[in-house]
């Protein structure tokens, strides 16, 4: 093993010395300063072609029709090798002629930094504010008046009755219609916006090339029985050939530019681009550059088909390791060259931002596309998979400090070298926010508990925020449903209605004041959870069926494990592994509320339920004593057995309620705990809680304990490490905020802390599953808030993803600043020691 070039510690050490080349520094600056511009290319082409083919009023579009449509778009899009202009903050439109050429051609949109529009999903939500987009306070987009008119006149009207939400509503029937539209305080359904929370199978792209895959589809089509299967195989072929065409058109454009280019160096650069894109992804990749080129070209194609909400890149350090090694051995590349390519790739991946309407900011504020990259961990056989490329990708991440891609590190205690964990910790200390760290042992346990084989589980990549997903073969849509657990607690507290009364929403579980004990309250909550699970999964299945009928996904299916083998589109269950994910928001606040109810209402009876309910409705006005008492109840994240028991019970209930249900593709629902910024959005709408939380305050983020509830780090980590991993099958985001110190031991201290948190204590507990750090220097934050223009790239950890501080809403900034901060070194320091041992001769 030690003979592997990619495991040479001297080479790893050398990586640390590499800095960003000036070319990348310049491109990065342009990237950070660029204002997103609405891109008309996709909606314009799609609308025209769909109209020509009369697809807009259809209740069913076959996968083959869809594939032909996309192929034509791929053959019609303008192949952009290097953008001619960009819109820069504070400057306006500037020409990019003379700027460094990228090492990858093509882009997600026609703009330098584009906002792609998906009128078949949620683009129409931007309609009311089209003219306001360039002027709105948070995350403005540039749009030209003529483009506003074109969208208003031509494009949006075409989709009024043809987009997924409306088709679903028309099918829903009275009872579900209200559920689709009216319960935004209870849950959010993300199939309205697309299904892209997954990882394509880039392994087959790199190994075989798309032409070979297309040939396989053609062969299978010939042998296939039934029109549906033949359609599917023809569709896969169309999709693959369309993607190949896109690559070849980029290549041709680069070659044409090279012909016209007077500068010899740029001409050579363009020729290299032309060569790489001619080869990849049509043929198997032979070099590291071809590998990245193939992935990027496919990425363009997949994003034509689906809006980017957490479409993830998977385990790049595994996918590309052989190509990188071969290049090194042949002397085709060195570390500097590879790092530069990766930096280019990182910038390309962030070349688009999701089109989010103003209010969406409250729930998904300042998020990029959450394109997760996963590094390290073990291979399918359980062997250490950390290699030089893992380190190189990490180095690129900490040098670039970008919100996209969302880099996640895997660490397998006992298998991966501790130096890998220390390296991950160093990156966190340097960036203050990334990467998140996942415990392979706990994650693999959770995944195998849901039926993945050991090999499939070990080959997991992170999707979106924190959701582990068997890479390239699991179509899990881990963000399908977001649930506000606090509103479910409300249903139990208020007999199945909202606080202000009104019609029965959940189940009338009776007046908690009349319950014999806490057990009865738990049963009531359990019934409400069941109601919610039934309701949300029915809606998700309804939306899934709409996707099957009007939005099959031939492009993603063409580079995924399963559809080719089974002859079934992904939307119909073609993947090897199927599932849907539920993200639960507000866990800590609900556990704390349960413990307060148990202790004060049902056990000690220090307060009657009616009095408590009245206090909640008054937001504790005049009830400071009661509130103080409630807030001292056992807290989630502490050692208290009451808190631990309630947490374990609730995690189990949610897992049972959702995990027992089978989705429209035949996969099970899984539950995860991450919140994006919904804990602030939903928190602002929620009333006072039995935990003592005041109305409007943010919920705790992810699965993190409530801020301030558990001031001791060891206690909190110990409790979190004891949570049942097998009930957390769709990931968790555990935020730990440190005030950094520059003492030399910090890296080792942080690594030892993570190692201890991951430790299963000789089988006494599961071991922590995930942790993500916020390392904020208070003075840096103060300066960034005072002078946002100087800190365009200050990254902060939200929940599951990182964002630029300047993009966050004031409420979200406040939430991050008010998180419990643990010290990496106490005020005193450990002192300065002089040895007396060395007596002068």
């Amino acid at each position: 093993m030690s003979t592997d070039l990619l495991l040479d510690p001297v080479r790893l050490g050398r990586l640390e010395q590499i800095d960003l080349p000036p070319r990348i520094v310049r491109l990065r600056e342009l990237h950070l300063r660029a204002v997103p511009e609405v891109c008309m290319e996709r909606p314009r082409l799609l609308t025209r072609l769909a109209r020509e083919r009369s697809l807009l009023d259809r209740t069913r579009i076959s996968v083959l029709e869809q594939a032909r449509l996309y192929r034509e778009v791929l053959e019609s899009r303008e192949p952009v090798v290097a953008h001619a202009a960009a819109w820069l903050e504070g400057t306006g439109e500037v020409s990019l002629r003379g700027e460094p050429l990228p090492l990858l051609a093509g882009s997600t949109t026609s703009r330098f930094k584009g906002v792609p529009l998906y009128p078949e999903f949620l683009a129409l939500t931007l309609w009311p504010e089209l003219e306001e987009l360039p002027r709105r306070r948070s995350n403005p987009y540039r749009i030209r008046p003529a483009e506003v008119d074109e969208l208003n006149h031509d494009i949006f009207p075409s989709w009024i009755r043809a987009h997924v939400a409306e088709v679903a509503r028309a099918r829903a029937g009275a009872s579900l219609e209200d559920g689709l539209l009216g319960h935004v305080d209870l849950y959010l359904l993300s199939k309205l916006s697309c299904i892209s929370h997954t990882i394509p199978d880039f392994g087959r792209v790199l190994r075989r090339g798309l032409l070979d895959l297309a040939e396989e589809a053609r062969q299978r089509c010939r042998r296939a029985r039934g029109a549906d299967r033949r359609d599917l195989y023809s569709a896969l072929e169309e999709a693959l050939l369309g993607t190949v065409a896109w690559g070849h058109r980029l290549s041709a454009e680069a070659r044409a530019m090279a012909e016209r280019e007077p500068d010899a160096a740029r001409r050579a650069g363009l020729r290299a681009l032309a060569e790489a894109h001619q080869r990849a992804p049509a043929e198997p990749a032979r070099t590291f550059r071809e590998g990245l080129t193939a992935i990027w070209t496919c990425w363009n194609a997949v994003l034509l088909e689906n809006a980017n909400y957490g479409l993830s890149l998977g385990r790049l350090d595994q996918l590309l390791a052989d190509l990188y090694r071969a290049d090194l051995e042949a002397g085709r590349i060195d570390q500097e060259g590879a790092l530069e390519l990766v930096c280019d790739f990182w910038l390309k991946v962030g070349d688009h931002v999701p089109g989010v309407p103003g209010t969406g900011e409250a729930f998904f504020g300042a998020t990029g596309s959450n394109q997760a990259v996963t590094l390290g961990g073990v291979d399918a056989e359980g062997r250490c998979a950390v290699n030089e490329l893992s380190h190189l990708l990490l180095r690129a991440t900490e040098l670039m400090r970008l919100r996209d891609p969302n880099v996640n590190a895997r660490y397998h205690p006992g298998v991966n070298p501790p130096a890998w964990l220390r390296r991950i910790c160093r990156a966190n200390l340097r960036t203050g926010a990334t990467p998140a760290i996942h415990n392979d042992r706990a994650v693999v346990r959770a995944m195998t508990a849901r039926g993945e084989t050991l090999a499939q589980a070990r080959d997991y990549g992170i999707v979106g925020c924190v959701e582990p997903t068997s890479a390239g073969r699991a179509y899990g849509h881990s963000a399908a449903i977001l649930v506000n657990l606090v509103s479910v607690l409300d249903l139990a507290l208020f007999r199945g209605t909202r606080r202000d009364g009104g019609q029965l929403l959940g189940v009338d579980t009776g007046d908690p004041g009349g319950f014999a004990g806490f057990g009865a309250f738990r049963e009531a909550l359990s019934a409400q959870i069941d109601w919610l699970a039934a309701r949300t999964t029915a809606l998700n299945d309804l939306l899934g069926a709409v996707h099957q009928d009007i939005h099959p996904t031939p492009i993603l299916s063409s580079i995924f494990e399963g559809p080719m083998e089974q002859g079934l589109d992904l939307s119909r269950g073609g993947a090897t592994i199927n599932g849907s994910g539920v993200a639960v928001v507000g866990l800590a606040d609900v556990v704390d509320s349960l413990s307060a109810l148990q202790i004060h209402v049902y056990e000690r009876r220090t307060v009657g339920f009616d009095a408590l309910r009245e206090a909640l409705l008054r937001d504790f006005a005049g009830d400071a004593v009661l509130r103080a008492m409630l807030a001292r109840s056992p807290r989630f994240g502490s050692d208290d057995p009451v808190a631990r028991e309630n947490a374990t019970w609730l995690l189990g209930e949610l897992d049972r309620a959702f995990g027992s249900r089978i989705n429209y593709r035949g996969g099970r629902y899984r539950v995860g705990y991450w919140t994006m910024t919904t804990h602030v959005g939903w928190g602002s709408l929620a009333g006072a809680l039995p935990s003592g939380r005041r109305a409007g305050a943010p919920f705790a983020s992810g699965i993190t304990p409530v801020s301030g509830a558990v001031p001791c780090l060891a206690t909190s980590l110990g409790a979190m490490a004891g949570l049942p991993a097998e009930a957390i099958t769709s990931g968790m985001a555990h935020n730990v905020k440190f005030t950094p110190s520059s003492r030399a031991r910090s890296e080792a201290d942080l690594a030892a802390t993570v190692e201890a948190y991951f430790d299963d204590d000789d089988g006494r507990r599961n071991g922590g599953m995930e942790v993500q750090f916020t390392l904020l220097r208070p003075e840096a934050v103060a300066d960034a808030l005072a002078h946002p223009e100087r800190h365009g790239d200050l990254l902060v950890r939200v929940s599951g993803y990182t964002a630029y501080l300047r993009d966050l809403s004031p409420a979200m900034r406040r939430e991050i600043l008010e998180r419990t901060a643990f010290a990496l070194a106490s005020e005193g320091g450990e002192g300065f020691t002089l040895s007396l041992g060395e007596v002068q001769a």
């Binding site: 400071a624 004593v625 009661l626 103080a628 008492m629 807030a631 001292r632 050692d639 001791c712 780090l713 060891a714 206690t715 110990g718 490490a721 005030t739 950094p740 110190s741 520059s742 003492r743 030399a744 031991r745 080792a748 201290d749 690594a751 030892a752 802390t753 190692e755 201890a756 948190y757 430790d759 204590d761 220097r777 208070p778 003075e779 643990f822 990496l824 070194a825 106490s826 005020e827 005193g828 320091g829 450990e830 002192g831 300065f832 020691t833 002089l834 040895s835 007396l836 041992g837 060395e838 007596v839 002068q840």
Partner: protein, 332 residues
């Protein structure tokens, strides 16, 4: 002082990075013979339980006033409790809904204490850490320590003792030293009169214990001098301590940076604030003390390496004064 029953534990601090090697779990026992003006933990002086008050969480409900049988609690007094009237019955703490008033000091049976401590085993395992006993003066309780330490050491736990030197040597040598890996021994003042002035007692016993423990075979001893402006950095003190340590055979000396938290540390238990500076010293300000120690060592023909300065852009350069023994050994 005779050891009667179990001592009270004032606090257990988990995940400490500065109380011995690795990540430590620190147990603070109550009771100390000294009255150092710069004490960081004045709530651990008194061996008895007492009432602590944290103003930040007080909601001003006045339940303490109703609960107190001696009329010692008042919501208008900033310190809340009239300590002269208070007989520590703790009814106020029992009535306090927010925990703003609370009891400091609880007994822990050795088995229960060890079980609670062992929760942190994963932290020790991966950092080379362990348990540190501090105080107060934890060595006032060798019998109790022996019972606890025996259990800990049986679990393979690394134990550190922090002491101010006021203990019965022979009893500790018999009951405690066999279980201990490291003793962090604080030496504040060499001069007995200065010691009486700033710490309330003579230092004869401390220095005698220091000399004996430094001669103890197989016990790692780390003498530490807390820097206190105008007290421990007074002319001649650092030099005298260096002399003393070199003569006694110490192999190192640690300067603890001045910690201004000592000024308000007694607020919680109603102690008056000492007149010490309320800010950290800068690395440069501390440099004078380091230089004095180095010169004193030079006079004894001992050369030391220059310590590392604070890292660039450091928030609290004064907090990160460090230099491990390993690093400074490169000096010769």
């Amino acid at each position: 002082m005779r050891e009667v029953g179990s001592p009270l534990v004032a606090a257990i601090k988990r995940h400490s990075l500065e109380d011995g090697p690795g990540i430590r779990t620190v147990v603070f026992l109550k009771g100390c013979a000294f009255r150092c003006s710069f004490c960081q933990n004045p709530e651990t002086r008194d061996p008895r339980a007492e009432i602590g008050f944290s103003p930040a969480s007080c909601i001003g409900c006045g339940r303490c006033v109703q609960a107190c049988p001696r009329d010692a609690a008042s919501t208008t007094a900033p310190e809340r409790i009239d300590r002269d009237r208070c007989d520590r019955c703790a009814r106020c703490a029992g009535a306090c809904p927010s925990g703003s008033l609370h009891v400091i000091g609880r007994t822990h049976e050795p088995e229960a204490l060890v079980a609670a401590l062992l929760r942190d085993r994963p932290f020790w395992r991966h950092s080379g850490g362990g348990v540190t006993f501090s105080g107060g003066e934890c060595l006032l309780y060798p019998r109790y320590l022996e019972r606890v330490l025996r259990l800990l050491v049986a679990e393979g736990v690394h134990v550190t003792i922090q002491t101010g030197g006021g203990f019965d040597y022979d009893r500790c040598a018999a009951r405690v030293w066999p279980y201990v890996r490291l003793v962090q021994f604080d030496v504040k003042l060499a001069d007995p009169r200065a010691h009486r002035k700033h710490c309330g007692t003579d230092n004869g016993r401390i220095l005698a214990n220091l000399r004996r423990i430094l001669a103890e075979p197989g016990l790692e001893v780390q003498p530490r001098v807390p820097l206190v402006p105008g007290v421990t950095d007074a002319p001649g003190n650092l030099e005298a301590i260096v002399e003393l340590l070199v003569d006694a055979g110490a192999d190192r000396i640690t300067l603890l940076p001045y910690n201004p938290l000592c000024v308000r540390a007694g607020d919680r238990v109603g102690l008056p604030r000492p007149l010490h500076p309320e800010r950290f010293l800068t690395w440069e300000e501390e440099g004078a003390a380091r230089e004095r120690v180095r010169r004193a060592l030079g006079a004894r023909r001992i050369r030391t390496a220059a310590p590392e300065g604070p890292a660039k852009g450091d928030l609290h350069p004064r907090l990160t004064v460090l230099g491990s023994t390993d690093r400074s050994r490169q000096g010769a």
